[in-house]
Symmetry: C2
Subunit: 107 residues, 2 copies
DNA sequence: CGTGTAAGGAATTCTGACACG
DNA sequence: CGTGTAAGGAATTCTGACACG
């Protein structure tokens, strides 16, 4: 019935709204993009668009920054956990393929 | 872990994005508000903000309009189904209260 | 009734740069 | 390094109105 998880990922929020939602200045938000911590899409005319997932990511970044963590380190951590997620995903994908071929027999 | 259903209801999308998402013109979107078919919030400076739920509502409105249904009739239908939902909600609420008092005994 | 459009103004967003530290 | 700010321009949004039908 609903479109499910897509709401969280759809990039539809403008930078001004993101600023309100996160408490960060637009300057900060753009800077974190420059440091590759966040990846907004662009509208046809070049305006940044963010998702709710991006907003949450920015809130985490803000927390880290308050603890004195530098953007470089935050990026390292993000890449690390992304690799872990990728491994997990590939593992599940593989399990699915094995099941499809050798698991439940359909014919 | 996630914030759950709130993504769908949060009013964070500007009218330009809603226009892209629905294929409606801004004029149309504002007119449907005037006809009380849709209820955006306003930012501090007066800009309209819509939710994903609003976007879906607008898509339904657009479909109805294509079928030649007038805004007045669409509004009637909306009010009708809203009343039905309210009845259902009150019913469930009542059931919950009854269970809380006479159902599962906690002491 | 439903939608297009031109009008004028106000708010938004963008980029590149200088500043401080 | 991380963030503020002034700068100038382009795109966005708003309202109220006239138009057509």
């Amino acid at each position: 019935m609903t479109d499910g998880p897509s709401y969280k990922e759809r990039k539809v929020i403008t930078i001004g709204v993101v600023s309100e939602l996160t408490g960060l200045t637009e300057r900060q938000i753009r800077y974190y993009e420059e440091r590759k911590l966040i990846f907004p899409e662009r509208s046809p005319k070049g305006n940044r668009k963010y998702s709710f997932a991006d907003v949450e990511q920015l809130i985490e970044i803000a927390n880290k920054r308050e603890e004195g963590v530098q953007t470089f380190e935050i990026r390292q951590e993000m890449l690390k956990s992304k690799r872990a997620e990728d491994r997990k995903f590939r593992k599940e994908l593989l399990r699915g393929e094995i099941n499809a071929r050798f698991g439940i027999q359909k014919d």
